[in-house]
Symmetry: C2
Subunit: 223 residues, 2 copies
């Protein structure tokens, strides 16, 4: 259908990839409703019917695009988490290590695509503020299991803290991360030029610290 087993052809997969890339950029910029099949086709220099041919529908296209963008980040998260656990050799992790593994991979992906910089940050953030029916499809599919894993790790660090507190603070941490990603492009204006928004590394480092402090102190002052 789409690709044979010995696939070395170029223009065939190219259109599909161009559509995905265009969809990613336009979704990040304008959200689900603001993304139109025509704008995607125009941006990808493809025909209006191409997207429907390759993906079947707008919904399917956007979900596939999100899958391709989110999956590598989630895989990297678990990789870093397991790496840290191996280094600790049985001793409990620090919350900084845990949040580092959660947030750092996003920074890596943002830095990779030097061209579309902020768009990935916005893309990830937008998946959490899009129209209800669409989030639910996506959120359950890509993030619910990750959330479970991180809850478990944090509850191991604070075995005496009640589940409610762990959940509350993890929720605040994740929400803060998403907020920071969503607002990042405003940093330059907001700071009146004092902070450069193209310094993704600085953003990620500070974000990890900020969230770690918020989480740790919030739990520790009670237990």
């Amino acid at each position: 259908m789409i690709a044979t087993s010995t696939d070395v052809s170029k223009p065939k997969v190219a259109t599909r990839k161009r559509l995905i890339d265009a969809a990613a950029r336009l979704f990040a910029l304008h959200g689900y409703n603001g993304l139109t099949m025509r704008s995607v086709a125009l941006d990808a220099q493809a025909n209006i019917a191409a997207a429907n041919y390759h993906f079947g529908s707008k919904d399917a296209m956007v979900l596939e695009m999100l899958r391709e963008r989110v999956q590598p980040i989630n895989e990297r998260r678990l990789e870093l988490l397991n790496q840290a656990k191996n280094n600790q050799a049985g001793r409990p992790l620090t919350t900084h290590q845990i949040f580092h593994s959660l947030i750092f991979p996003i920074g890596e992906e943002i830095s990779k695509s030097t061209k579309s910089r902020c768009s990935l940050a916005q893309l990830v953030a937008r998946t959490f503020t899009e129209p209800v029916h669409f989030i639910e499809k996506m959120h359950q599919r890509f993030f619910s299991q990750i959330a479970d894993i991180y809850y478990l790790e944090l509850s191991l660090v604070y075995p005496n803290a009640p589940a409610r507190e762990i959940y509350w603070h993890l929720h605040l941490a994740v929400s803060s991360m998403l907020g920071a990603l969503a607002q990042h492009r405003r940093l330059n204006d907001f700071s009146r030029g004092h902070c450069a928004e193209n310094d993704v590394g600085a953003m990620i480092t500070r974000l990890i610290q900020f969230i770690t402090h918020g989480f740790d102190r919030g739990i520790k002052t009670q237990f």
Copy 2:
């Protein structure tokens, strides 16, 4: 035109108010692109042309709705901030006091409208993730001066910290606040029932603490 000086009539202003309320709810639920004039008219039990008659256009209607929702919150913020300053009688404020005055008023407004609960949180948050052209209009109009005031207060608390650090951490604080508001409705699912999302007071209290810790420790560890 719309209302005389001795205004005791009901149905005249009622339609306009019903439109604003409907616009607020639908904007919070579906965002700017997801809000349609027809859906607003239907929700407000008004004619399709009513909104255009009263406001001129969709853009003008939504901006007016935002103004009516955001302005009282901003006024209350400055009220609480000045209250705290008077209580301190010249001594520097604590960051907790500052962030309390920033965040608490939103909680008050959310609690007021018991009917549409989470919708205000989502509404405020959505104003920051909506299509670019629309944010810029709105953000500059309602939030830029507030940001300046809070930067100033925080720089008085940490007079030795460079402006860059204050801006960075304030940006993270505001972003976290917005993220938490945007994600609040997901709290119940996220925590697998451990945290009740209808407890707005608990959310606000924890959020203020979380952000204060993130801000304070981030600045203090460096200066």
